[in-house]
Amino acid sequence: MDSVELILASAVRLAVPLAFAALGEWIAERAGTLNISVEGMMLGGAFTAVAGAGLTGSASAGLLFGVAAGLLVAFVHACFSHRLSVNTYVVGLTLNVLVLGLTSFLLLKTESRQVDKLTIPLLSDIPVIGPALFDQRWPAYLLAALVPAAWWLVRRSRWGLEARAAGENPQSADVTGIDVNKRRRQALMLCGALAGLGGAYLAVAEVGTFNQNMTAGRGYMVIAAVIFGGWTLRGTLAGVLVFGAADAMRLALPALGYTLNPQFLVASPYILALIAMTFFATTRRGPAALGRPFVRGIT
């Protein structure tokens, strides 16, 4: 029982940074951008968060720096993909190379700084799920507000309606009077902010410092989560949790005396996403115009 509790707590802990970024990726994809640069956004967020924390002396302020870095990457991506209509995958990959190079080049030695834990009394004593849900670093609780907010934004608000239309049928959206590329840019900026926050959380909440390439493919895992979740918010978050659990098991099992293949566990998110795509390909589809640039007059 103890080990279940432990693994669960660790799974949630590892899932939190993914969850922030996944919210953003979900929004971006619903608006029609398959955003590969989410990896760069997270990595940039992690780096600037640590730098910002060092600069201001406050780990919490570091989170804001992380958000800013994510926004910056998103801004560049949005300009190239949804103003200049350069292939979004090219831009995404290039930005990832750029951010990885930049953060490695500037790699800084800083003292470890971490935001505080916030243990919610009583609730955290609930067996099994208590520690997982109510004994985390404080920014993790932001998710409790951000998840419903993102859902409302995409599913219920005027903006979300227009963004979804931009992702499903940009030509129709355009003749209806919606600025398709503007909605897509905005969605991408939201993704940048959230992914930057996720990366920052990884650095200043979970680890406490920055290591070279510290996101190590977590951005791609986020993309996998959105696909795994069939482009629904609920499914995306489930994906994030499953992937977090796989990661937690990789870390915990050797200590508990089990031997499960670490490589298999690392690869499992991608394999699960591929399987999900294969079997739900006909029922749960992504936005129809996902990854296609919109240019007026070209169908």
Binding site: Y89, V90, F105
Partner: protein
């Protein structure tokens, strides 16, 4: 438009200006990219002149450096040619990084464990590498034509599976991990390939020397360029890429031709891995691919899917990679090369896209 004065010979001047605009835009965007890189170097407390000198010395100064540049160019070019083939069929494969390392792993397995004369095993290793890369691209191909799974996403996800697969293999002594030596800790890497199965090298260090892989790269480029331009296969591939519905009406089997193109592009990436393995690295480990797959893809994109243009572009990327190895000696982190590469790719994409945008915003404005 804004420059028009009364009496100005608008109609005569406009075409000249628009003809000059594009090269000018290229010059400006490359200058901006390099200025950003220079600023970065300066911020890091280094000298841009030193960095440039190091890049030059590492890539073009003297026989050994030039050989190094060509060695770096070779796999980039092969990957790029593969990417071009699939792009012509309208299929966007972005999983070369994974296809490359899987190919290299297969090549290593053949090179290490298949008995026989060295040259034959070497050839088999290259063939096996290409086949393994094709197989790895074949999975997304099957998923696409069977279930409609998006190729971009599938090839991307397969990269990370590939890396773990190879990591798995080089961590298992019953697979590819190196043979135990008394008193030494085992590393997660394979044994070195025996001398006989390696690609021959021309010249010797410290003089001009290079692997013969570039011959393979040029041969692949030549054949593909010729067939794309003059072959029935190239014709059909273009038809499929530009209008798949019309192609089907005309009897093109998308799954065979398009899937074949995807397999070929995976095969090229695998072959590139094989060439890297047998041509200079000689052993496989988790970090083997070293971004060659990603960068090869970028070469194809910068070359706008023209195989012959890919040669100079790949060479340019090769210069940066070779120079990057030398950069570390000056105290500038070699990651500068990734930054410069990425900035240049963005700089190369900007002018054409900007011109497009202008054309759309002001239709027929010069008329």
């Amino acid at each position: 438009m804004t420059l028009t004065r009364p009496g100005a010979r608008h109609a005569d001047r406009a075409p000249v200006r628009s003809r000059l605009r594009t090269p000018l835009l290229y010059a400006v965007s490359f200058a901006v990219a390099l200025a950003l890189a220079a600023a970065l170097v300066t911020v890091g407390g280094h000298s841009m002149a030193d960095a440039l000198l190091a890049l030059y010395q590492g890539s073009l100064d003297g026989g050994a450096s030039i050989g190094q540049t060509i060695d770096e160019t070779t796999p980039l070019l092969i990957v790029a040619i593969g990417a071009i083939v699939s792009a012509r069929a309208g299929i966007f494969n972005i999983g070369q990084e994974g296809q490359l390392i899987v190919g290299a792993a297969a090549g290593a397995a053949i090179g290490l464990f298949v008995p026989g004369p060295g040259w034959l095993v070497g050839a088999l290793a290259l063939l096996g590498a290409a086949l393994a890369g094709a197989l790895w691209a074949g999975i997304p191909a099957v998923l696409y034509y069977w279930r409609g799974v998006d190729v971009v996403v599938a090839t991307l996800l397969m990269v990370f599976v590939a890396m773990q697969l190879v990591s798995f293999a080089v961590n298992r002594d019953y697979l590819l991990q190196e043979t135990a030596v008394e008193g030494q800790i085992l590393s997660p890497q394979s044994d070195l390939l025996p001398e006989g199965v390696r690609l021959p090298r021309l010249g010797e260090y410290p003089d001009f020397n290079l692997g013969t892989g570039f011959v393979i790269a040029l041969a692949v480029t030549g054949v593909v360029a010729y067939l794309l331009r003059h072959g029935k296969w190239g014709f059909r591939l273009r038809m499929l890429g530009l209008n798949p519905v019309a192609a089907r009406r005309a009897g093109v089997r998308a799954a065979a031709l398009g899937g074949g193109a995807l397999l070929l592009s995976g095969g090229a990436a695998g072959l590139a891995g094989g060439v890297m393995l047998t041509g200079g690295v000689y052993r496989i480990q988790a970090g083997f691919a070293d971004n060659v797959g990603w960068e090869g893809l970028l070469v194809a994109l910068v070359a706008r899917n023209h195989p012959l243009v890919a040669i100079p572009v790949a060479l340019f990327f090769g210069v940066l990679r070779a120079g990057g190895g030398f950069l570390a000696s000056t105290g500038v982190p070699r990651y500068l090369v990734s930054v410069v590469t990425a900035l240049l790719v963005l700089a190369a994409a900007f002018p054409a896209a900007y011109a497009e945008l202008r054309k759309r915003r002001r239709p027929a404005v010069e008329a």
